[in-house]
């Protein structure tokens, strides 16, 4: 067993355990903290695949922004902080559904002859990404900025204090 394989096994184990902690744990704040660990595990998996940029983005966006946002949302919601034990009556439905989904996903990854690029993509991944965003994908790139503007305005309208008409 190579060092890389050992690292992969350890990282996957940590990620899966953390992910289990997110859904099984009873304290919502601890669930959120476990989520951060799971996100970090995924980032480490990306690193093992030499997708350095993806790993950095994973840390910045998922660990940095989304997880912190979730923590803020929990801490600022009094009702959730008081609630010691989060329970879910329908946990077995979720269990069956996610087991099914996992089975389908794993089956499809193995069963299908996916298309792969025959040539290796050389060069700096970040430079390549930047070039693609401003040439081939320039339209989606610009449209995404309008979408974000819309989302900002919309979020402010929905989250504002009650209107004074």
């Amino acid at each position: 067993m190579t060092l890389l394989q050992i690292a992969f096994l350890i990282i996957s184990a940590v990620t899966i355990l953390a992910a289990l902690g997110v859904v099984v744990g009873r304290n919502i704040l601890r669930n959120a903290l476990a989520l951060i660990l799971a996100f970090l595990g995924v980032a480490a998996l990306y690193l093992l695949l030499e997708a350095t940029f993806l790993a950095a983005v994973q840390v910045l966006i998922y660990v940095g922004a989304i997880a912190v946002l979730i923590l803020f949302a929990i801490m600022l919601t009094e009702r959730l902080m008081k609630q010691e034990r989060a329970t879910n009556e329908q946990w077995w439905v979720v269990l069956v559904a996610s087991a099914l989904l996992a089975a389908i996903l794993i089956f499809l990854v193995g069963a299908v002859e996916w298309q792969v690029t025959p040539t290796e993509i050389g060069g700096d991944p970040i430079a390549n990404l930047g070039r693609a965003l401003l040439t081939t994908y320039v339209l989606p790139f610009e449209v995404a900025s309008l979408l974000l503007l819309m989302a900002l305005v919309g979020a402010i309208i929905i989250a504002r204090e009650r209107e004074e008409a």
Partner: protein, 491 residues
């Protein structure tokens, strides 16, 4: 750089972007301008319609195949701009009483229109998904716009949850297609499927599930039956002008992108998806009509009736073959449906503005309280039921005609089912007419309806009748819109 020399083809989208930002900016700068902004937005839409009409007949592909401009897309862009224009006209008085945030409201409506114009021309899965989410996200905000009204917030959340799940499923379907073919471009995907030597052959069995997943997303957008549950709640809770918008704008866009994906990328599997869509269409119209009968709230009734209507429109997609008028029928039906359904909703806005009620029972005796409104509603209901001489008749004539043109027993059965469903729908449409004409009103005072709403009702009613009495120019327009796409051509 490639693609940029075609920038003038994008002039309607650029105009919409500029006006959307202008409305948002003006709203920020001048606090007292709020209601004038509606007219700025309408001005932008009229300009966009003129630019689109000017482009009619041109064809081109932009930004390395992200977007195509053809008459088919341009037709839908005109539909989107018309819809938003009429919706804004009908919201001016309505929103004035409900919220102080009206500038953003018109800005968001313009952005929703922009998203629709991008979606109808998108020819790459990346662009399709992005503009699809753009339409959805804007609509979630608009549905939940009335913060003080718990029903509006509830509707927004329900709509959002359904939308988030179906778009995740759709994205998975798209990723399967990409994984099998190695491309996100619709034309490349089609070549990959059609060429016998491609490696796709060994994964043939995965295509139908992938299409089914993608259909979940599109089906949500157009409220087809297994994905329709959000529609009645969203329509009931949303500000009524937004319910009107949802029932036409995003639906037309959903049909445009459905037709483009099926006919551009998946013609090789037409037999499979025809069977699938026939079933969905049959269930949609029957379910929509049967449930609509039991409704007591007019917005919910219109929601179920529009589920039935998309079932009819889907018949046209089923009959999209060489030598039929299927797609042309879809285009005509959607235009007719635009004026008719928007008209019906605008009339509901007017009634609810004047009385504060959406209950069907309160429409009793409307003939004496607001004779013109009652007359307009009769026209809209006749058109929704598909009776001559209205626009709805024209749409149904072509769609059912195309199904019969397919010339097989199964298709005759579908056409008969469509006609029977139209008969069922007569029952609940004319139940409202019966109330308005023959039952006494609880309160005989005549209704005060603001001028902007009168204008909106008058325009939609006039167009519904014009399309019924003088259909030739509209038929010509629809014919011109399909000929440019080789696959869609009726020849």
């Amino acid at each position: 750089m490639p693609g940029f020399e075609n920038l003038p083809l994008l002039s309607p989208e650029i105009t919409l972007t500029i006006f959307a930002l202008l409305v948002l900016g003006l709203d920020l700068a001048f606090k007292r301008l709020k209601d004038a902004l509606a007219y700025v937005a309408i001005g932008g839409l009229i300009l966009a319609i003129m630019l689109t009409a000017h482009l009619f007949g041109t064809q081109g592909s932009l930004f390395s195949g992200m977007l195509v401009v053809d008459s088919f897309a341009l037709y839908f862009k005109i539909i989107a701009c018309l819809t938003t224009g009429l919706v804004i006209l009908s919201s001016i008085a309505f929103m004035k009483e409900k919220t102080p945030y009206r500038g953003e409201f018109y800005g968001l409506l313009l952005l929703a229109t922009l998203a629709i114009t991008l979606l109808v021309g998108a020819s790459d899965l990346v662009m399709i998904y992005l503009s699809f989410e753009f339409v959805s996200l804007t609509c979630y905000v608009l549905v939940g716009y009335l913060r003080g009204d718990p029903k509006s917030s509830e509707a927004g959340i329900k709509y959002f949850l359904y939308g988030a799940v179906t778009s995740a499923v759709m994205l998975y379907g798209m990723s399967l297609i990409y994984g099998i073919t190695g491309s996100t471009q619709l034309t490349v995907i089609a070549d990959n499927f059609l060429s016998p030597s491609s490696p796709v052959a060994s994964t043939r069995w995965l295509i139908l599930p992938a299409v089914l997943f993608i259909l979940a997303g599109f089906g949500f957008k157009i409220a087809l039956v297994p994905f329709h549950q959000w529609a009645p709640d969203a329509y009931e809770g949303a500000p009524t002008p937004i319910a009107a918008f949802l029932s036409v704008g995003p639906k037309a866009a959903g049909f445009a992108v459905l037709i483009r994906v099926l006919l551009t990328a998946l013609p090789a599997y037409q037999i499979d998806w025809i069977a699938l869509l026939s079933g969905i269409s049959l269930v949609s119209m029957t379910f929509g009509n049967l449930v609509a009968i039991q409704q007591t709230n007019i917005k919910r009734m219109l929601a179920y009736s529009s589920i039935a209507q998309v079932g009819y429109i889907l018949l046209g997609v089923v009959a999209a073959g060489p030598g039929t008028v299927g797609i042309m029928g879809v285009l005509l039906f959607i235009l007719a449906y635009l004026f008719t359904n928007l008209g019906a909703f605008v009339a509901v806005v007017a009634f609810s503005y004047a009385t504060g009620s959406d209950e069907i029972a309160d429409y009793a005796g409307l003939l004496r309280r607001a004779p013109l409104l009652a007359a307009a509603l009769v026209v809209f209901f006749m058109s929704l039921a598909g009776m001559p001489p209205t626009a709805g008749f024209l749409g149904k004539l072509f769609v059912f005609g195309a199904v019969i043109q397919m010339g097989q027993k199964v298709f005759y059965f579908l056409a008969v089912a469509g006609v029977l469903n139209s008969v069922i729908s007569l029952y609940y449409y004319f139940n409202v007419v019966r109330l308005m004409f023959f039952l006494p009103a609880k309160d005989e005072t005549s209704l005060q309806i603001p001028r902007s709403l009168v204008v909106a009702v008058a325009i939609t009613m006039a167009m519904t009748l014009v399309m019924g009495f003088y259909p030739q120019p509209f038929i010509d327009l629809a014919t011109r819109s399909v000929v440019t796409v080789a696959m869609l051509s009726p020849q």
